[in-house]
Symmetry: C2
């Protein structure tokens, strides 16, 4: 039943603006439109075959996801996160992900998803797939947040991780950044398997603080 969720978008009728937003979101997250890129209404509208009004609605959607920034009378740009943005982003991640883990006293059912992400990361490393490595790592944190059992937390986390992707696209060597964290992912998973949520939360706390420092340092 749950595996069908991803296909819902195909069934539920969506507006043109939402579909356009989906296409642009994909482009941004895969790095095709790197941070700072200006998205011009006319050229993109022409390329996608939609009117300016429709395109502007798509821009609004993505602006509210913080993937685009709208500057009045100047247009929309792919967001470039400042150092302060990154720090704030991680402060919230710490609260959310920590809050999802803390208080857990038995191996939670959602552990499987966490374990799957850990395995996925190892596999991506084995075949030297950097993009897969990044995705696996993000999925690991997504699975942690999902332990909160809140749809709202899931949505929030999706948005946060999309922004984290932006940070990665603005940095030089994502691969060497990610590799060291694979072992720490395993540690956290082990704590969870043992039903030690509070310990997992402490490990995660150090983890995210280290990652934040590294990113901020590498970021300018």
């Amino acid at each position: 039943m749950e595996g069908l969720a991803a296909d819902r978008a195909l069934l539920v009728r969506t507006s043109t603006a939402e579909r356009v937003a989906g296409i642009l979101r994909g482009r941004i997250l895969e790095g095709y439109f790197p941070p700072g890129t200006r998205l011009v209404e006319d050229s993109i509208g022409a390329a996608l075959g939609v009117s300016r009004n429709t395109l502007r609605e798509a821009f609004r959607l993505l602006s509210h996801e913080r993937l685009l920034v709208h500057e009045l009378n100047r247009g929309v740009f792919v967001r470039t996160l400042t150092t302060a943005d990154v720090e704030d982003l991680f402060r919230l991640r710490l609260i959310i992900e920590g809050g999802a883990l803390r208080g857990i006293r038995r191996r939670p059912a959602g552990c499987d998803r966490v374990a799957a992400a850990v395995a996925e990361g190892a596999a991506a490393l084995a075949r030297d797939d950097t993009a897969g490595l990044v995705t696996a790592n993000l999925r690991f944190h997504q699975a942690l947040a999902a332990l909160a059992g809140s749809r709202r937390v899931d949505e929030l986390m999706d948005g946060l991780l999309a922004e984290v992707r932006l940070v990665f696209h603005a940095m030089a060597d994502p691969r060497s950044f990610h590799v060291p964290y694979l072992a720490r992912n395993r540690e956290i998973l082990a704590a969870l398997e043992a039903g030690a949520g509070d310990e997992a939360a402490m490990l995660l706390d150090r983890y995210l603080n280290d990652a934040r420092s590294e990113l901020v340092a590498a970021h300018l």
Copy 2:
């Protein structure tokens, strides 16, 4: 300096859509448009003297704040929260507000804002001002979340509390709901003044769980 923040909207150039969204947001939060109200493009557009395109952009903004829900080809409605929505909302509040308090070991500077909200609540009760009571209570929780020291957490909390307001507007007697929580606000403040963040977090945990149960029970 800080008191001028509310006037920023007057200085910073904003788009028409944002100003329209601001007007509608105010109407919704003060209860003028109660949950379930349908907002018709033509009549509102005519009343405010803006075009449909502009109005639609304003609707998009408010939909993403979850104050409106957009049903394809049917229009926009002031959101009515389901029981599941309320529970999910409180699950996230618990994580956010708890995360802001946990780990505090010295009386934080932001305590003043918390104390101000507590005083404001007592004053509103004294003059039998129900609307003031609700506002003071929400401001109390806003001040708690602000202890996280994150702009992003503040914004998130603003959105969450706006939704909580919607719940209150859908319920019969907000006054008698709020009064008992004034004493518990004071307890939490006392713990914070003493620099006992973890204890404050535990008090808050019970507090929010009780409030959630009460609201869900009163809510259908």
